[in-house]
């Protein structure tokens, strides 16, 4: 895969006798050495599958020359006897920032600063500051012995480094952690390409959201493809040029949670790129989907520490999701391995680097096999970076980077004595010390002075002195190069300092008393060291961990609900069809669909029967305007963001999905916010709580959010926001004209191109994701939902649409729809409104609760929506208000939250009414559904029960049990002195239309 890396190995072979830098001048005599060492009698772990007992490793000039049970040792070799010791390949970290300058993050305040529409990076670069493919880590790399030492201590020998900043982060460099000149430790420049969804230190306004970052990266791939073929048009764009170079390299994508991991993979799929994805440690929560990506992962070993729950009031600040993740996070690696997902490990993310081994051993305790762990630190990373020919195992010809350890690397208590990198020796714990443990008689200045006891480990002894009066002293000790130095308080609280050396009987030496008198001392051995009977090393039986819930949070499911065959009997059925409201009627659900509606339906076996007497069965509520279950809502960086897709930022774990099910909602259109005239592409979901992204999304709904009014012209954002065009309703009209005329021209260009019989030599037009979406509107393939308040601007958009020959599908909010309902009806534009909101800003001063009724009477298809996670769970009440205000017939009022939104979303062929063949998205209400007293008995989607009142109670009880169990476990952790953190909870933002994201992730 990597030709230049095998070349590299070859270079090493050539280099063996010329280890210095040939081009560099010297100050003094040459000091080149052969570096020939033989390590004998070692247990050599060649790779995770192969171990050589009593083997020999021969290295020379930083390269492995030979390895095996029997190796001929040439003359002139330093022989190191490793009897009883182990040799491992040294470890590789692929997500390092070793030797790179720290990223300077700009101070960002919340959303209310003057926008910076252009990049601050001047020069022949691309337009966006967060896209910096031209960054080359090898050019920024400066070896740092301090940093290197901290990594070497843990056993690492090689690191792939890159600048952790921005969406496109440029190329990485493979370096070793040896203390050699930079030219020697740099193994490979431009070894890898790096990406993320975070704009990092970029101060440019766009992208201001995750979906914006996603769209920007997508567009960059298209731009680079186009640039490759038509550079003349763009001139020399160094960023796109560099992008085309690095996109062929092994590509690493940093993500922040399981859903951004899946998003990254999906993005790669669009361009035939399989990213190596840096995960975040929550992969176990969506194993199946992650496995299906086919990606190799780069996983952290940082786990949350327990919360200090001593104070019961404090503990309320922690959610069950946090408690469960604390318990399951150390099992993540075992789960991932068990699922057969390949991965490498990284230290990145650890707050304390020294926790690396502690955490890794905890993961092993929790089921991660040692060989997989070793593979993930050696073979796998070497392979991922295409350096398997030079790194990762102990084989002839590879770089001599290896560890000398006291025993199995993954056992607790194992000591790493030495970390050899490129044939350079780094001693972590000396091995050449004699075992001096034992009990000695301490004689100072010829006076018996007590007993010196040396115990502990031979490599790391501990010392104690018992004086004649039986008091115990722990002296300060240095043991270096055969000299033992002790200092301690001796008699009358005076300090005595002794230095000695080993003789036949024990120790002898000289010292100084507190008053400066020189004395002699000795310590003849009395009894040899006897190891204490080992403590019971059988590990305490690991207490069982809780099950994975879907999602891993309160109200999560043990298993995702499955479709059942159900017969609901003798109930009042609101069909929303010409049959109207049917009394005493049965509805049969089979295979997720409504199979029969009628009286006295037969009960077949295997069908769950529900008595609906006195109750009301309706189709599920559909919320035309929602912002739940989203990681982000507004890409407000530009006045058009048609390129962004809300489907990129859907969060299936949002508890509001469950809460809305409890209010009878079964589907929601997740809209972009209203920060700009042309917003982003909507995502339509069914509220399949516990399901994954694919379960939730309905990709056939293609719509886009537009917006008018005060938000678009930034009236209420403070005086710093008087910069972005447009600032008036006059400007908004021109935004539409400008963009749609461009889209029309764009579509024509593509049309002309596609019609060419011979495309040879003709460069395809640049693919523009923003204009793609607008062209889809012009082709009537994408529906507009437009946030709107006052009549002037509504009228304006209708005229723009008329003149450019496109259609507005829905005006949402449309609080002055009543003023031009006739015009909307003429154009068959729907109105999706609030029941009674007003008075929150100037443009809703003339909003009236009779709006829905007036629009309804004029023949507009009217929906009542929420735009709010709270209101959404009682949309039945909001629909009832149209009866109060303007006297809409009850059946028609009910359609405003069911059938009518289905029509506006073009989903009425499968949703919105109780009709044979439609999806069984049903709610059984205990009362008239428009009644203030009504509540759902159950909410079903496609035949599966996603909410059920009895089940809800059972879940609450189970949550209490689970919380109590994990709390006890955490408190035990605290009692054992383990690190704890203060209780705290992070709740994701509840989005509304007007909320602005300041930065992506």
């Amino acid at each position: 895969m990597f030709k230049h890396l095998s070349k590299l190995v070859f270079c090493f072979l050539l280099m063996q006798y010329s280890y210095g830098q040939q081009t560099f001048p010297r100050n003094g005599a040459y000091d080149e050495r052969a570096g020939r060492y033989a390590f004998t009698n070692a247990t050599i772990i060649v790779n995770p599958q192969q171990t050589i007992q009593n083997g020999t490793l021969l290295i020379e000039g930083g390269v492995i020359k030979a390895i095996g049970p029997k190796v001929a040792i040439p003359q002139g070799t330093v022989v190191v006897d490793l009897q009883g010791k182990f040799l491992y390949p040294s470890l590789i970290d692929l997500d390092s920032d070793y030797g790179l300058p720290a990223v300077q993050m700009p101070a960002r305040s919340r959303g209310r600063q003057t926008p910076q529409l252009e990049s601050n990076k001047k020069g022949a670069f691309g337009w966006n500051q967060a896209i910096q493919p031209e960054i080359d880590a090898s050019l920024q790399f400066v070896p740092s012995q301090q940093q290197a030492e901290s990594l070497r201590k843990l056993g690492f020998g090689t690191a792939l480094i890159h600048a952790h900043d921005g969406i496109v982060r440029g190329s990485g460099a493979l370096v070793t952690l040896a203390d050699l000149p930079a030219t020697k430790v740099l193994l490979q420049e431009k070894a890898s390409a790096h990406f993320s969804f975070s704009k990092g230190s970029s101060t440019q306004t766009y992208p201001s959201s995750v979906m914006g970052a996603t769209a920007l990266l997508r567009q960059t791939y298209y731009d680079a493809q186009w640039y490759e073929k038509s550079q003349r048009d763009e001139g020399d764009n160094l960023s796109l040029k560099a992008f085309n170079q690095i996109k062929k390299l092994p590509s690493f994508f940093e993500t922040t949670d399981k859903y951004s991991l899946l998003r990254a993979d999906k993005l790669g799929d669009e361009f035939g790129i399989q990213y190596i994805i840096k995960g975040s440690g929550d992969e176990y929560q969506r194993l199946e989907e992650i496995k299906n990506t086919g990606a190799t992962l780069l996983l952290p070993v940082d786990f949350p520490s327990a919360y200090d729950l001593t104070d019961p009031w404090d503990s309320e600040m922690v959610s069950l999701a946090q408690l469960k993740h604390w318990e399951l996070a150390p099992k993540n690696l075992a789960y991932v391995a068990e699922a057969g997902i390949p991965f490498a490990l990284t230290m990145q993310g650890l707050k304390q680097k020294s926790d690396f081994w502690k955490n890794l051993r905890l993961a092993i305790d929790q089921g991660l096999s040692k060989s997989v762990a070793l593979e993930a630190l050696t073979v796998q990373p070497a392979k991922l970076i295409g350096a398997e020919k030079s790194l990762g195992t102990l084989e002839k010809g590879k770089i001599a980077s290896f560890l000398v350890t006291s025993s199995d690397l993954f056992e607790s208590g194992t000591i790493i004595y030495e970390n050899w990198i490129q044939g350079q020796r780094y001693i972590l714990t000396p091995t050449d010390l004699a075992d001096i443990r034992g009990t000695y008689n301490l004689v100072i200045d010829n006076q018996p002075s007590g007993k010196l006891k040396i115990g502990g480990k031979a490599e790391q002894p501990n010392y104690s002195i018992t004086t004649l009066d039986s008091s115990k002293i722990t002296p300060k000790v240095q043991l270096k190069n055969e000299l033992l130095t002790l200092s301690f308080k001796h008699g009358k609280d005076q300090s005595v300092r002794l230095t000695g050396w080993k003789d036949a009987k024990g120790f002898v030496g000289e010292g100084l008393t507190a008053d400066g008198k020189t004395i002699t001392w000795s310590a003849p051995l009395v009894s040899a060291f006897e190891a204490e009977a080992p403590k019971d090393t059988t590990k305490p039986a690991t207490t069982p961990t809780g099950a994975i819930w879907y999602p891993l949070a309160g109200y999560g499911n043990l298993e995702v609900p499955q479709a059942q065959d159900v017969l609901i009997q003798n109930t009042t059925v609101w069909t929303n069809e010409k049959e109207g409201i049917l009394e005493e009627t049965d509805v049969l659900v089979r295979g997720g669909k409504i199979a029969k509606v009628g009286k006295g339906l037969q009960v077949a076996s295997g069908v769950k029967v529900i008595n609906g007497k006195g109750k009301h069965l309706t189709s599920g509520i559909i919320d035309e305007h929602s912002h739940i279950a989203l990681f982000s809502v507004n890409e407000g960086g530009q006045s058009s963001s048609a390129e962004v897709r809300m489907s990129d930022v859907v969060n299936p774990d949002d508890v509001n999905i469950y809460r809305q099910l409890s209010g009878g909602v079964t589907a929601s259109q997740l809209l972009h916010g209203s920060a700009n005239a042309i917003g982003g592409q909507s995502a339509m979901i069914k509220l399949k709580w516990g399901g994954g992204l694919k379960d939730l999304l309905l990709p056939q709904v293609k719509s886009i959010k537009f917006a008018l009014g005060e938000n678009v012209k930034q009236s209420n954002w403070g005086d710093v926001q008087r910069y972005r065009f447009p600032q008036t309703r006059m400007g908004v009209e021109q935004v539409y004209f400008d963009h749609f005329i461009r889209a029309k021209e764009y579509a024509q260009q593509w049309d002309a191109y596609n019609k060419l019989s011979k495309k040879d030599g003709v460069v395809a037009p640049r693919r523009d994701l923003e204009l793609d979406a607008l062209a889809e509107i012009l082709a009537d393939e994408r529906a507009i939902t437009c946030h709107s308040y006052v009549q002037s601007e509504i009228n304006m958009l209708m005229h723009v649409a008329d003149s450019l020959n496109f259609r507005v599908n829905t005006f949402t909010h449309i609080l002055e729809g009543y003023k031009l309902a006739d015009k909307m009806a003429d154009r068959k534009i729907g109105g999706s409104t609030f029941a009674d909101w007003w008075a929150y800003k100037m443009e809703v001063k003339e909003a009236i609760p009779y709006n829905a009724a007036l629009m309804y009477h004029e023949g507009v298809t009217v929906a009542i929506n929420s735009d709010d996670a709270e209101m959404a769970r009682r949309l039945n009440q909001e629909a009832a208000k149209t009866v109060l205000y303007g006297g809409v017939p009850q059946e028609e009022a009910w359609k405003m939250v069911t059938l009518n939104p289905a029509k506006l979303l073009h989903l009425d062929d499968r949703m919105g009414s109780v009709k044979v063949g439609k999806d069984a998205d049903l709610v059984l209400w205990n009362d008239h559904p428009l009644s203030i007293y009504a509540r759902p008995d159950f909410t079903m989607i496609e035949g599966a029960f996603y909410f059920d009142r009895k089940l809800d109670e059972a879940k609450q009880a189970e949550m209490d049990t689970e919380r109590a169990r994990i709390t006890q476990k955490m408190m035990a952790d605290k009692d054992q002195g383990k690190a704890t953190q203060k209780p705290q909870m992070v709740k994701p933002k509840m989005w509304h239309c007007e909320d602005l994201d300041e930065a992506a992730e």
Partner: protein
Amino acid sequence: MKYQAKIWATCHLMIASWLFTGAWAQNPAPGITQKGATTLVGGTIHVGDGTVIEKGAITFENGKITYIGNATGAKKGEQIDVSGKQIYPGIISLNTSVGLKEVASVRATLDYYEVGDLNPHIRALVAYNTDSEIIPTLRSNGILLSQAVPEGGIISGSSALFYSDGWNWEDAVLRKDDGVWLSWPSYASTAIHTQDQSELTKRNERRQGVVDLLKQTFSEAKAYAELKAPMPVNLRLEAMKPVLKGESNLYIRADLAKDIIEAVKFAQSYGIKRIVIAGGNQSYKITEFLRENDVAVIVNPTHRLPGHPDEPVYLPYALPGKLHQAGVKVAITYAGEWWRTRNLAFLAGTAAGFSDMSSEEALQLITKNAAEIAGVSQRVGTLGVGKDASLLVSTGDLLDMRGNGIEMAFIRGAKVNLDDKQKRLYEKYQEKYKAK
């Protein structure tokens, strides 16, 4: 072209209808003071204390109720047949910003949030705008009394209680300066993450400093209250006197159970008798404490999401019922909101639907209990002889959108004009479409 012609037609119509309704561009005039007697005959009377009188009659004279009971007995004054309809006491909406807020995004229309930490002397009374376009939309839905409350700071100021009708605040006020509002520093603090705007909740490290400041202020206010002629005069401490003397309420905003207990103990330590908790999200955990200490709770709007991801999904809806059934005096409100308070009856309806409380009990939470908490129960809150004739006639169940249809409302016996701006716009555009 087709549309252009229509627009012209529409414009002409609009001008015509605007001229027609021009006389109504302002809020309607307040009702005319009642002279003589009026009797509502034949309706179902919901007294407000749980009693229901079928086919009843209610007579009021010169603004006061003089008879309530069986329809057969009453024949005094003007007779209005309300057979088949429902008679209720006017709804009392506590803890609002009605009259102090008009358009949320326009600073010039906002008068509810003063600067400064300790502002007991700030009075909602004088800023209450009887000409607010919001107010008529409230009485259309049965809100006949609103408590305007200042916000901001640690001690926000003093509230006052207003009828939804009147030429000016002096006319409209039922009770001046009914209590001082204190925001208890919460045990938990929340911070918004600047990047993903997530909300971080953790222990409030600055809390003790605020509690210490309050201790000092209340101690000094108590000492000050002992002086007959204090010198120098301190407006802030002066304003605390009625609270310390038990003449008006100390309203404490607190949500967490721990905060509520601490705040109540704090107030009691200064001898304060009339303590009301506003907020009370976790009050269901300490009902015994609240009952024993005779502390009432004005709950936050119950149309809200659970405060914690693990909280039961219906807990906010069920909360008033839980408190009521545990014997705690509770009122339902829209805390700090203004236009939304017109939905107060529906909050009560939801509270009944999602707990074991009856709708008649839920009604008390927006009438009788609210009046008792605000110290005006001798005048309003229930229908009884000697009380203000502040009542309404609804086509059906007041608490349900399907029944709530306010046909008549009386404030101190005066018949209220139920017109409002929104109805006028409704009528105006009905004209437009009829003319088509």
